[in-house]
Symmetry: C2
Subunit: 229 residues, 2 copies
């Protein structure tokens, strides 16, 4: 079985080299000559396999997404308590970000662009699939009474994914902060994050006070409008 790190055909080597360089430096900072050199092929060979630099970039993006997303199924654990399942998802998600960190960084770069020309719709599709799946799981937890009814599952999902993504993209910086002691311990990170998310941060005595009837989030359909925009 050939390891995925060392493709033998030159097209595969080009893709691998391009993925690494694009993720590290960004699209515009990487020249086709640099990709060719890294892949050990001639520059003309790149244009033999790919019609343009942009086509190569899109190929890198789609190949990376195809390779990294199937594992999303493993991130969702059916059994266990809410706390256990949340912790498992957080850990699996942040592990996945790190395992495919080149692809993750490529997608994060896409989020910062606002030119729809490039592969933003790919990033949107990947993130969206990830997201709606998670929201569905949270809705199930809500139906069977584990999750409070007056919390918005989409907000919880965004909180989870957002914390993980920020933790991932800022880890080099966060590591230098003296307050942060979990930068290198993913197990501690996901445990603490889960605990906070499940139990909240307020003192238990104060929690009953703030039992706000925030139920306009679980709206009664009639007033909700489509937000297709």
């Amino acid at each position: 079985m050939p390891s995925p790190q060392a493709p033998t055909c030159s097209a595969g080597r080009i893709l691998a080299a391009a993925q690494q360089l694009f993720a590290e430096l960004g699209y515009d900072a990487v020249s086709t000559s640099a990709i060719a050199e890294q892949a050990g092929v001639s520059k003309a060979n790149i244009f033999h396999h790919f019609s343009s630099k942009k086509a190569l970039y899109l190929a890198v993006l789609t190949a990376g997404c195809k390779k990294s997303t199937p594992l999303l199924d493993d991130m969702i654990q059916e059994s266990g308590s809410l706390s256990e399942r949340l912790c498992h998802f957080i850990r699996a998600h942040i592990d996945n970000l790190h395992k495919y960190d080149e692809v993750s960084r490529l997608l994060l770069r896409e989020l910062l662009e606002n030119e729809p020309q490039r592969g933003q719709e790919i990033a949107e599709q990947v993130l969206g699939e990830n997201f709606s799946r998670l929201v569905g799981i949270l809705r199930d937890s809500q139906r069977c009474g584990e999750l409070r009814r007056n919390v918005d599952p989409a907000m919880v999902a965004m909180l989870l994914v957002g914390a993980n993504v920020f933790f991932f993209q800022s880890r080099e910086v966060l590591r230098h902060f003296p307050d942060i002691r979990f930068a290198d311990d993913l197990a501690a990170y996901s445990r603490r994050l889960t605990e906070i998310l499940v139990n909240g941060v307020a003192m238990p005595a104060l929690k009953l006070k703030t039992n706000t009837p925030d139920t306009h989030s679980t709206n009664k359909g009639a007033t909700r409008k489509k937000v297709g925009v």
Copy 2:
């Protein structure tokens, strides 16, 4: 009083044009010719005021940070309950991200680079100052008994900032997701986020069960191995 959007001197116009273009397209995708055209000056004029393109970029970064960070003081509200103060901070923080969105995007771009050559230390400094201030506030809340003692203030801070940053950088994409109904309503966003953070997501009945002595996160060093890898 001259509006900050329309600098009169050409150096100021160059800075403003560069800030906009760098934030929108990234450092490498922007040529000095494009900056000159946007600023309405000659390309040579750029190199009359700034020694190089990179020097201009760093000037943009430092000027932007200097302009956007003083308002951080306003983000911290002394009076009110924990819930009110958290909500105020979240709202002020996300507002600040949007108000200085060009600077924010520049800093987020820096986070994705790993070449220390560029202005990453600037981003680190800005983020770090922001961060340690927030952690201090949370520690105070912990001392006076509003915040639970067994939560890590740094984790709460990262959760807050991370959710806001992710919400900010993904808003264009999130807006297309049908599950998300708060993409354009910052007030609702900060309210719901606060409520989840304060009270947690679990059903109150289940919460007492999960009162885990999670203090093994402050581990006893002996069994934990380094995970430097």
